[in-house]
Point group: C2
């Protein structure tokens, strides 16, 4: 076996893998995250054991699927984060990019974040092991950007990481709630969150008559 050569077989296997992932994607987007391995195999026009040969187990398939979408989302976010603009503008752009993404493909979003929901009755893919990674990766990524660019004093690295994860969590929770209830426009949500990050909570006055918060 020559290890250096890219044989036809290897290329064909890669292509097959991509095809299978695309089929899985279609099924997951159609049937929700509870899609069964059988259904995915059927959509791909083959049978279960082949899926297992390619991805090991359901978690492997999930991981491969999640990686594609996660990478794509992270690329968009990096672009927004790196855009040439002042800080507030950049923050708003990043929030908007995230929200636009989850708004445009809620099925993908729900798959990545709440995999067990849409299923008809079974459990489906497991979130726990995989939704965290997405949030974590976003958090670490943001932390790195913050740490690189902001002067936060001696404790900067720790602060940056806390803030990275905190801001990502804020974005995520607010986005999740917003996607479910649609209580306002995306623009309004972005501005409200940026306002929060800009200290408006601390600056707001007490309501007349009530005890100060």
């Amino acid at each position: 076996m020559d290890t250096t050569q890219r044989t036809d077989q290897e290329r064909s296997a890669d292509r097959r893998r991509r095809e299978l992932l695309e089929a899985a994607d279609r099924v997951v987007l159609r049937d929700g995250p509870g899609a069964s391995m059988n259904a995915i195999a059927a959509e791909a026009g083959i049978t279960k054991p082949i899926l297992y040969r390619h991805f090991g187990d359901k978690g492997g398939l999930y991981a491969a699927l999640a990686k594609r979408h996660t990478d794509a989302l992270l690329d968009s976010l990096r672009a927004a984060l790196d855009a040439p603009a002042e800080r507030r503008e950049r923050v708003e752009q990043t929030l908007d990019t995230y929200l636009t993404a989850i708004e445009a493909r809620p099925q993908v979003y729900r798959f990545l974040m709440h995999p067990a929901e849409g299923g008809h009755q079974g459990e489906g893919f497991d979130v726990g092991k995989h939704s965290a990674p997405l949030l974590r990766r976003m958090g670490e990524e943001l932390a790195q950007v913050i740490e690189e660019r902001l002067d936060l004093g001696p404790d900067g690295e720790r602060l940056a990481r806390v803030w990275g994860h905190g801001i990502v969590g804020m974005m995520h929770a607010a986005g999740d709630w917003w996607l479910g209830e649609r209580p306002c426009s995306r623009r309004e949500l972005v501005r409200s969150l940026a306002d929060l990050l800009w200290g408006r909570l601390a600056a707001a006055g007490d309501k007349v008559g009530g005890p100060g918060f």
Copy 2:
């Protein structure tokens, strides 16, 4: 059938229900969230159909279990939120209360938030349908407090809700990350998050030499 009277049967049924919930609690805390209905029934010294008679299905059992813990946590948070102190102190107290709770009983926390993780191989309880409720309830609760006490202008209600969910998400994500990596003390985490909420992100200076964030 007398509807007004609390019969022995009803009290006994309630007691039974509590016993079952406590057994379920023990199993979930021991085996992780992947605990099977069989295992729970065995721990309670009975068999499956009884569990199903009491809770309908696994989701019902989960919901009952989650409600207990969620209510308890919300009570603690309300107390911290209502304490007589100034705003920053109160915010820090609330964050600290939450973090203390998840630190003290990580198993419970993981059950509520990432149910599918600890399981040996199966899927276990589903998160999607139930972890959201906890976050949502906390978010709505906080929103209400914010809206009651802060003067946020004409758009106050919307702002309060966005902030409620956003802050809860921030707390959650940061807490989850912190619980996993323990990168700093609880006190430091609380201060860092409060600083973030107090606008220190916006106020920080650019790092010398780098492009401004």
